[in-house]
């Protein structure tokens, strides 16, 4: 039974994609019309593809379960780590002041390592260089907690990927990957997220795929997860073999997505279905 299920799901997926649905759901349109348009260029956050109950879950900090991780991140910010015995606040001070707008500028170029870093990468670099602590593995609860806490300090601010020519090759690679057909289903990211947003894939509404709220609390995960984890889910979803955990492809996609969503408001910590 469990072996048949993925095949059945893949079939549904293919069937959904070959149906060219001319009409976007009236409900979705009504929901879009009710929301204030931030940038009138047709870009819509994933928030606007969700029902009112889920939107409320994200918007109300008293309900948003991602706040469990934010609370953790706030404590970690003031907890010494590593042999240096220093905590983040020793250098950075009060996060709501010093970290406002910082998360909106990643991935960024890191001169010390001569490469690009995303926000979790920057947190790990700080741990290794300044706290003399071991890097946290991907999807570690503490890394997600700190990322969520820092992301929250930029909530509502426009995504502002740095205007840095050294990031250009990475963004180009990411854009190429975005257009690259992958897997047994032979689909590229753009086939769903550029060409068919608002339509359905199985039971789920396809969003435009703007990475504005990471790390997100995903109901399917029943927990917080990074953009890397979400991308991996999509790559597996088109039945491709995902790149390794440390592969540069993930960062390239992240850099391209940041460029693609430039100017949209940061929503961290977002809730998604």
């Amino acid at each position: 039974m469990t072996r048949c299920l993925p095949v059945a799901r893949a079939l549904v997926l293919v069937l959904r994609l070959v149906q060219v649905q001319v009409l976007v759901s009236v409900l979705t349109l009504a929901a879009l019309a009710a929301l204030p348009a931030r940038a009138d260029d047709g870009r819509r956050s994933g928030l606007q593809f969700m029902g009112p109950a889920l939107q409320a879950l994200q918007r109300d900090d008293g309900q948003n379960p991602a706040m469990l991780w934010v609370q953790d991140g706030e404590q970690l910010w003031r907890t010494p780590a590593g042999t240096a015995g220093r905590h983040c606040a020793d250098c950075h001070g009060d996060a709501p002041r010093s970290m406002a707008g910082v998360a909106a500028r990643y991935p960024a170029w890191d001169a010390a390592s001569g490469g690009a870093l995303n926000l979790p990468g920057r947190i790990n670099a700080c741990r290794q260089r300044h706290q003399q602590a071991a890097a946290l593995p991907a999807e570690h609860a503490d890394l997600l907690a700190l990322s969520a806490y820092l992301g929250l300090q930029s909530r509502g601010q426009p995504l502002a990927p740095p205007d840095d020519v050294r990031l250009a090759p990475l963004r180009q690679q990411g854009e190429a990957l975005w257009q690259q057909r992958l897997g047994q289903l032979n689909l590229a990211c753009l086939h769903c997220h550029d060409q068919r947003p608002g339509q359905r894939l199985g039971g789920a509404v396809i969003p435009q795929g703007h990475a504005t709220g990471y790390p997100i609390y995903r109901l399917e995960w029943q927990g917080l997860g990074s953009l890397h984890r979400r991308l991996r889910g999509c790559v597996v979803g088109v039945r491709a073999e995902p790149w390794g955990t440390e592969a540069p492809e993930w960062l390239a996609l992240e850099a391209w997505l940041a460029q693609r969503a430039a100017g949209m408001a940061v929503e961290t910590p977002a809730v998604r279905p």
Binding site: D61, G62, Q63, P65, M67, L68, D72, A141, Q222
Partner: protein, 113 residues
């Protein structure tokens, strides 16, 4: 998984600042908990044993003001919202209990404005 140390229990309490003397106000609590319903299988095909929170109680100075029984259909990280009227300063206790001897209790001193 049984041998790993129990992770620190995390809990959110919202609405305490909104308490006004003699006025009902909404409190919201969220508990970080997997709420495994006992029906899922892990990657090796073994049944993940049921591990849920079964009871929540809120007490004001020892008097029960709100309680809820939770069952296996409730999603991970349960959220509860309820209304409370406090007529003066006191101590609120929030207690969760569940399978495998799970018990978590936090207290907050309240001073309604």
């Amino acid at each position: 998984m049984a041998d790993t140390p129990a992770p620190r229990v995390r809990m959110l309490i919202h609405g305490l600042d909104g308490l006004r003397r003699g006025q009902p106000a909404e409190l919201r609590v969220t508990l970080a908990h997997p709420m495994d319903n006992g029906l899922r299988h892990d990657g090796f095909g073994n049944v993940v044993p049921r591990n849920i929170v079964t009871r929540f109680e809120c007490r004001l100075d020892g008097d029960l003001v709100f309680a809820a029984d939770l069952y296996s259909a409730i999603a991970a990280n349960p959220y509860l919202g309820f209304w409370l009227r406090a007529d003066g300063p006191g101590t609120l206790s929030f207690e969760w209990s569940g399978d495998w001897g799970f018990n978590h209790r936090e207290t907050r001193a309240i001073v309604p404005a």
